[in-house]
Symmetry: C2
Subunit: 501 residues, 2 copies
């Protein structure tokens, strides 16, 4: 490549650095920052966000982009350089439609909304969060309007997380899937063979939970030389560049699964980021290509691996060694059934595999209604509770366990939830292909040998980072676009066996 391309990469690197710095500040805010830091941190994040945006949409950057395009014109369209340029040009076209002042204000508002959400959740006081959420929803509508014309006000938001995906497609997939998933849950409940998971509701020493989690994800292949784990109220994975990809986990003293599966889940995200080609570092391609693909990775390690018989036949002795009083006399098969108990519940992050997507579907419907002005924020708790009754047959006793349970909206994130459900679908779609390519996969996992799986994921998914759009990536790897059938087959087979349907 020529000098123009180098200049472009340099300016791009600056924007990357500003965003990475903001990610460090945000990580610190959620892990170690003392309460007194709140006000200053909100200002700092606002400034970094605004400057990153300003520089990205500056005339200087635009000129560098145009000049680099000349350099790249004759390159292989599949080369890193061509793909970086294509992606940056698309991001540029989107971002320059958003005024820098709006970005700064949005960062400021959401930093404060986050704090308000934390207090509101603590006191189960939706009224205290309501004005913040109204501001956030209003600003999100403003954001969508920067991208008129659109098919649906939801589309520009969704596109930021899932490039190319439309609300109409999500609705169609969800409407097809929901009755089948509801029918499965009904069949399980009618079968009347309840699984007992009371053994998880005991006092589990946090340090031992931590140690077991570390052992597992080290086994998966998470590289602690290029990452670390800390504790935070809401678990997340964050990358400050390919050499520093961190996870956080929340451990609960009297409920084991949260920390255990949460650690595997975040490690799944982190393995994706750690596996990206270093040739893409300090560019917007140095991250997963979309949130649904990202979630396919976290859910694969958490569920397809982490809740499988093969995995536990390898790791159950370790868990028993950490907690001999609790599991010493519990048979593997009983344990396996317990971690796969299906039961409609209130909290999304704790939901089992069979009910999880219903939590997402109702959030999607609510977001759509909020943005389309069919639902005022004030009515949110009522509508939330009504939908939980309708889809899951249960009613939240308070808003902390209801509409205030997720951090996302306080961050200003709307249009994100569907990617969780899509991730579950994609995980299963990839899994069918992996099982074809690696016929001895289960046997390897039973020997704690995750290398073939991780290697397959690295070669087919991770290494590419954001080079291919999600649909394109799925096509390359599985030969078709998004499919719900493998997910349906997986649920039927797994829970059909456990519940003898």
């Amino acid at each position: 490549m020529g000098k123009a391309y180098d200049t472009f990469r340099e300016l791009l690197g600056e924007v990357f650095d500003l965003n990475a710095a903001a990610a460090v500040l945000s990580w610190d805010q959620q892990t170690y920052m003392p309460p007194g830091g709140n006000g200053g941190r909100a200002m700092q994040l606002s400034t970094l966000g605004r400057l990153a945006h300003q520089r990205f949409v500056s005339e200087e950057f635009h000129q560098a982009l145009l000049a680099a395009a000349e350099d790249v014109r004759r390159a292989d369209p599949e080369s890193d350089e061509a793909r970086i340029l294509r992606r940056v040009r698309r991001d540029y076209e989107k971002q320059r439609k958003v005024p820098s002042a709006w970005v700064g204000e949005f960062n400021r508002v959401t930093a404060i909304a986050q704090q308000a959400w934390e207090r509101a959740k603590e006191h189960s006081d939706f009224a205290a969060f309501r004005p913040h959420l109204e501001t956030v929803v209003g600003m999100r509508r403003e954001y969508a309007d920067f991208f008129t014309p659109y098919e649906n006000v939801y589309d520009p938001l969704l596109d930021d997380f899932e490039p190319g995906m439309k609300a109409a497609q999500v609705r169609s997939v969800f409407e097809d899937l929901r009755p089948k998933q509801v029918a499965l849950i009904r069949a399980i409940q009618e079968r009347g063979k309840p699984v007992d998971d009371r053994l998880f509701h005991r006092a589990y020493d946090i340090q031992k939970q931590w140690d077991f989690g570390i052992e597992v994800i080290r086994g998966f292949g998470y590289d602690f030389e290029r990452g670390r784990q800390d504790k935070s109220a809401h678990p997340f994975t964050t990358s400050f560049g390919l050499g520093d990809v961190r996870i956080t986990t929340r451990f609960i003293p009297d409920y084991l699964p949260t920390g255990m599966f949460g650690t595997m889940h975040e490690a799944g995200h982190a393995l994706y980021e750690q596996g990206i080609s270093t040739s893409l570092d300090r560019t917007p391609l140095a991250t997963g290509t979309s949130l649904a693909i990202h979630e396919s990775q976290s859910r694969m390690w958490e569920n397809l691996v982490g809740r499988s018989r093969a995995f536990w036949s390898a790791y159950y002795p370790s868990l028993q060694a950490q907690f001999p009083a609790e599991f010493g006399k519990v048979k593997l098969e009983e344990f396996y059934r317990s971690i796969n108990k299906v039961e409609p519940s209130l909290i999304r992050t704790e939901a089992d595999e069979a009910t999880y997507n219903l939590h997402i579907m109702l959030r999607f419907e609510i977001e759509l209604a909020l943005l389309e002005r069919r639902l005022p924020v004030a009515d949110l708790p009522e509508v939330w509770n009504a939908k939980y009754r309708e889809y899951l047959g249960i009613t939240p006793p308070d808003d902390a366990q209801g509409v205030l349970q997720d951090i996302h909206w306080s961050f200003g994130i709307l249009g994100y939830f569907p990617t969780y459900a899509l991730g579950n679908l994609i995980a299963c779609q990839l899994w069918e292909k992996i099982q074809q390519d690696l016929p001895d996969l289960d046997a390897r996992i039973e020997r704690k040998d995750f290398a073939p799986l991780l290697d397959w994921l690295r070669r087919n998914i991770h290494v590419h980072g954001g080079k291919y759009d999600p649909e394109e990536l799925l096509q390359r790897v599985t030969g078709s676009g998004l499919q719900a059938a493998p997910y349906e087959r997986y649920l039927q087979r797994k829970f059909g066996e456990i519940y003898q349907l």
Copy 2:
């Protein structure tokens, strides 16, 4: 104030935020960052430093500064607004002489030099650090040359840490003080009444060291709602704004004083920062006015309080409770003598009060010789060791305990060391005034009541932040400029009594 002043404060706030973000990244680098983060972090710090500088010396900022000056012209020259403007104008005049590209390169070079220093120190391998230090010294000379004409190449560097101070003045103070300090040490050694401090060289549980330190600095008045303590290889205090002032401490498993007095030392710095008027937040005045004044605060809490009989008559029972096996049978008076043992030693940070300044004086002489090109970097270990023999009568067995012991030069910091010695002088100068104003100070400290002392410091020193230059502040508070006599009196009285001279 008018609208122009507000605009000026807004732009100033942006620069503050960028610097605060860099401080967070640097804190993270020294506390939690995994090794893989090094490369990316160096880029991020370079970008933040360059952008902060670019914005500060931009034409936009210059115009805002000029317009704000009109707004402020008729304000009280002692008002926050007038003082902020005066200080910013001075910083601006200095910084615009330094090209942004130089700043970015300097940040990049020193981020790498730091890592090189860590490895070099670990393997006591000066040769591995030498090329980095040569680059740093060369760039520091370039830096000084942005400010020609100067009296001495050292002056522009020193001025960044100690506004208004000149190398000639430092040399004069040091040359006057050195023979007196050497004479005192000789007298102590000739007196032949050695103090035994072997009891500190035992296994001290790190958690207990930590807990005792926390108890002490909480007693001092350090506010954990607006700060926290972490561990790092080289202890430091850092501020991300007045609501978030953090300290780090290094604990050694088999030597108690390092962590114990280090914690008090950093808390002394942090109390200064936490006490600054919030009206100065997000401006360059929201920090201590100079490093020597800063060091006067840390050394006051570490030594004048932390190594006094009054303090230990209050806290010795707590220490005995943490370490009953070690101190249960050791009398307070014996303990007091042990923490005040005078003995020439190799490591500056571990040096006692009587020998400490000699470590500084030789570093000052070496820095001066390096910058004046009288000493090539390659000869540094030899000259270093020769000076230790000459002033302290001891020779470092290796470079890790010699010329590689301090992190400062790897950070690119030259012209900084003298402020440590000046801080010792100023601490004693202030202490004489405090004792006049608070005649019952010792009695209060004996009751663990630090409120009168902290209140005095807040009112006279802390609250002002950077409003007054160091010399001006000393004049206001003590009625005279820098004096060495109180320090000399303090050493003579304290060690004359302990060693019965």
